[in-house]
Structure formats: structure tokens, C-alpha cells
């Protein structure tokens, strides 16, 4: 028994120690003042389309917690199925008017809503018909190589075939279109590549969640 456990441990350590055969891209996104930008989607499209083959994405989810979409920005591969569980104690009515996906989930609670398949690339803006301040974004990506920046402004895409890629950035508040961010990056298997983007953001405006006793948000 001890021999078996030792063998399993050695094999596991060996598997962990072997470096990934894919290339990796580390990205840092910040604004012109140096402020790190979260929720930016980094998309890397291989110049050789044969490299863009990857396993189908598992089903994804955008939750509703404290009357907000969590996460605020979600990136999925085109064709992905996304569930919209509702973790709140009240019901929500999720909808989108976006050309990339128009849908409506009638008022529901818990996990009662069926998943939505995002079959066209583009940006899908989510809303709740009951709670006007709820806004979320789904970026439906054509390329399987994407990631989203965290609060440190960084994102890593790994397990990418070495080669040339066109890389671009999208953010819900970006001042200019994502086509202005396109860059060509060459990835090698032996060392990860790093790149930095500076992104101008527009001020974010949202429907106020609390609007005071005199306003129309108050029934």
C-alpha cells in the first residue's frame, strides 16, 4: 500500500513539474493614469486559423447576487451555454436587446431558468426588467483564447499553440472601439510573452439603485 501511494505521489509530482507544452500570454491593462483596469477581456486570435481548435467550453454561469450580475463581465466562447442562476431571495427577469443575442427569461427564482446558448459573436448587455440598475455583460468570443483581467489589471491566456496572434482588448466602458487595440504578438513555447495595453475609459453611468422617496423607482 505504501509503495502504491509513493508511486502515485511521484507520478503526480512529475506531472506537475513538467512544463506545459503550450505558449502563454500575460497581459496588463491600465488607463492613461496608470490605474489598473479590471473586467477587460483579452482576445487572442491565431493568424493561422487551424490553431484555433480547442475543446468545447463547459457550460458557464452568470449569477445574480444582491441584485447584481456576478460577474459583471463574462467572456464565453461562441456556442456556449450559459445558465443564469438566481441566488437572491427575490425573483429576477433577465433580458437582453443586444444584436448578438436577444432573449428574455420570464420572472424566476433559484435555478428555474433554462440556459441560453450564445451562438453569435459580440457583446451582449444583460438587464433585469424588475431592477433597472442591474447591468452585466457577456462577451461572446470567436477565438477560444481569451481571458479577463482581475483587480490587478492582469490576465493570462495559457495552453496556446505557439505562433502568431492578433490580440485585442474589450471593456464595457472603453472610449474607443476594440479594433483600436489590435496588436500582433508572436508566442513561443519556451517562454511566455508579456504585453501591456493602455485603455481610455469613459465615465460609467448607471441607473441609481436607491432613488429616494420622491422618485419613480419608488412604487
Amino acid at each position: 500500500m505504501h509503495r502504491f501511494l509513493a508511486a502515485v505521489t511521484v507520478l503526480a509530482l512529475a506531472w506537475v513539474a513538467v512544463p506545459s507544452r503550450g505558449a502563454a500570454l500575460h497581459v496588463l491593462v491600465k488607463d492613461p493614469h496608470g490605474k489598473l483596469i479590471a473586467d477587460a477581456v483579452v482576445l487572442a486570435a491565431p493568424v493561422d486559423p487551424k490553431s484555433a481548435q480547442r475543446a468545447k467550453s463547459p457550460a458557464d454561469a452568470v449569477d445574480q447576487v444582491d441584485k447584481q450580475f456576478i460577474p459583471y463581465v463574462k467572456a464565453v466562447l461562441v456556442g456556449s451555454k450559459v445558465w443564469f442562476p438566481n441566488s437572491d431571495h427575490i425573483r429576477h427577469q433577465v433580458y437582453s436587446f443586444s444584436p448578438a443575442k436577444t432573449f428574455e427569461l420570464p420572472l424566476y427564482g433559484g435555478t428555474d431558468a433554462p440556459p441560453v446558448v450564445f451562438d453569435k459573436p459580440g457583446v451582449v448587455v444583460l438587464g433585469c426588467n424588475i431592477h433597472d440598475w442591474m447591468v452585466g455583460y457577456i462577451y461572446v468570443s470567436e477565438t477560444p483564447f481569451f481571458a479577463k483581467t482581475g483587480s490587478a489589471g492582469t490576465a493570462t491566456i495559457d495552453d496556446m499553440p505557439p505562433g502568431e496572434y492578433t490580440v485585442r482588448i474589450w471593456h464595457p466602458s472603453m472610449e474607443h472601439g476594440e479594433e483600436t487595440t489590435v496588436r500582433r504578438v508572436t508566442l513561443n513555447a519556451d517562454a511566455p510573452a508579456s504585453a501591456e495595453w493602455e485603455l481610455g475609459l469613459k465615465p460609467t453611468l448607471r441607473v441609481p439603485r436607491v432613488s429616494g422617496a420622491g422618485s419613480p423607482g419608488y412604487p
Binding site: 431571495h89 427575490i90 426588467n129 441607473v207 420622491g214 422618485s215 419613480p216 412604487p219
Partner: protein
Amino acid sequence: MERDRGSAATLAAFAASIALGATPYAARSDWTLGAGADLRYDNNVGNAQSSSDIVADSTVDARLTIFQLFPLGDDYSVTLGGDLRGELFRRLTGLNNASLDGTFALKRKWGLGAFAPWARAGVSVGRSSYDDSYRNTWNYRATLASGRRVDERWNFWAEYAFERRAASAQTPEVPGVSADAYSQDSHDAAVNLEYSLNENAFLALGLLGRHGDVVSTTRGSAQIYEAARAFAEDPAFGPDAYAYKLTGTTYGFRLGINYSPTPHSLLGCGFERLETHADGGNRYAKSIPTISWDYRF
């Protein structure tokens, strides 16, 4: 003149116990809870014309709100709700009051989302109970409102309301002249505009109009006596004070700036100016600066 000092406190305690008892249930259901408080200064509480009669005071107002929205198909929704409110005056303690209101509203939205135009019709019934209980009223209000959020920055809506405040009958001071000075009917209209400065702050502007009964606690004169449709003692303002019910028209505006320090709360700073032209040449004005706080659970 009845001055039952316990009535406001009794109503407030009774309603608060119901609200607190319901809180755990509300937290687990579709009911939405809200709370708020205002600190307000009114430079003419009694609506007096003469500077010697004008009484200013500051008030603290706290409220608890509970409501639930029931969608009816794609376009309509019904809201049921209630408000519990208490108001304390610094000097005019007889005006301290508590009120409990129930509201029913039917809303129509033409489309989905935050930018769909909407209209709403609502009715509410409530009871206000004052420390000086001769001011106690049953309150009835019917409203029609409509508006549209044009985009993330601009929001616009207009509202009309008919309000009736029915007070208990008082014994006339003068035979043949009504003492029902605290019952009032009025028509109110308002046009409101909000402008978002950024993600957390917005400006609010409201233009207000009102026509109907006004109660002016002022020194008696031949003019006001002749114009008054009712008058009664108003000891909340002093032993010799009288309240006169007149018909008047009020115009005014409200300006405010609001800031959300957290997603659930809103701090506001506002200023309201109202000018009233009432029967008998009685004209008065008031200015009301307010600091407010609202919290939505």
C-alpha cells in the same frame, strides 16, 4: 380642544412592532424593505404671512417602507406596500407625529428594461397621529404618474395627485362657522428631472404646483376671518394661536444633489421653495433645506 399626548407614540410603537416582526419574513421573500431619514428646517411651519406670526422649526423624520411587486404578464405590474413614518419637531412638539400608510399601484411599462416609458396609477390610505391629537387625520391619496428614463444620464417623470386629509370634527368656536380647519383637499402636480453626474451622483429638479385647501396658523384679521372656510384653536403654536382653512394656490421648486456612498444607500441634500397665494390676500412663502438618507435592502 383635545390634546392627547400619547397617540403618536402609541401608533408608532404598534406599527414598529408589526414592521419588526415582519422583517425576518420580508428578508426571505419578494418583499423589499427600505429605510430613510430626513433632517429638515422649515422657516414657516404654520404658513403665516406676517413676520410676527412666522414660526420656524427643524424636524427629524424617519421612515420604514416595505413593498412587493407582482408582475402581471409582460407589460403590467402591481405594487403593494406600506410606509411607517415618524416626525419629531424641535420646538413645536405638539406637531410630533407618526403615520402608517398602505399603497396599491398599477404600473404599465411599454417594453422591457430601464429605458421603457411607463405610467402608474396608485391609491394610498393612511392614518397620521399627532401628539396634539386634534390634528389627527385619515389620509387618502390617488396618483397618476408617467415618465421615461431617456438614457443613463437623464430621467424625466410627471405626477398628479389628489389628496384628502380628513380630521375629526371639532366643536365650533363660533356657532355657524366650521371648526374643521385641519381637513384638506388638494390637487398636486409635479414635473421632475434627474441628471446623473457620474456613477454615484445625480442632480434632481422638481417644479411643483398645488391648488386646494391650506391651513394657515396666523394672527386673526378681518380679511382672513372672512376668507376662512373654517378656523380652530391651534395650541401647538401657542395658547392664542388659531388655524384658518383657506383656498390657495402654491408654486415652487425643489433642487437636490444625491450621492450613493454604497450601492444600497443614498445621501441627499435638497432645497425647496414654495410660495402660496391664498384667499383673503393671504400670501406666504417658505424655504425648506433638507438633508436626507435612504437605504434600500
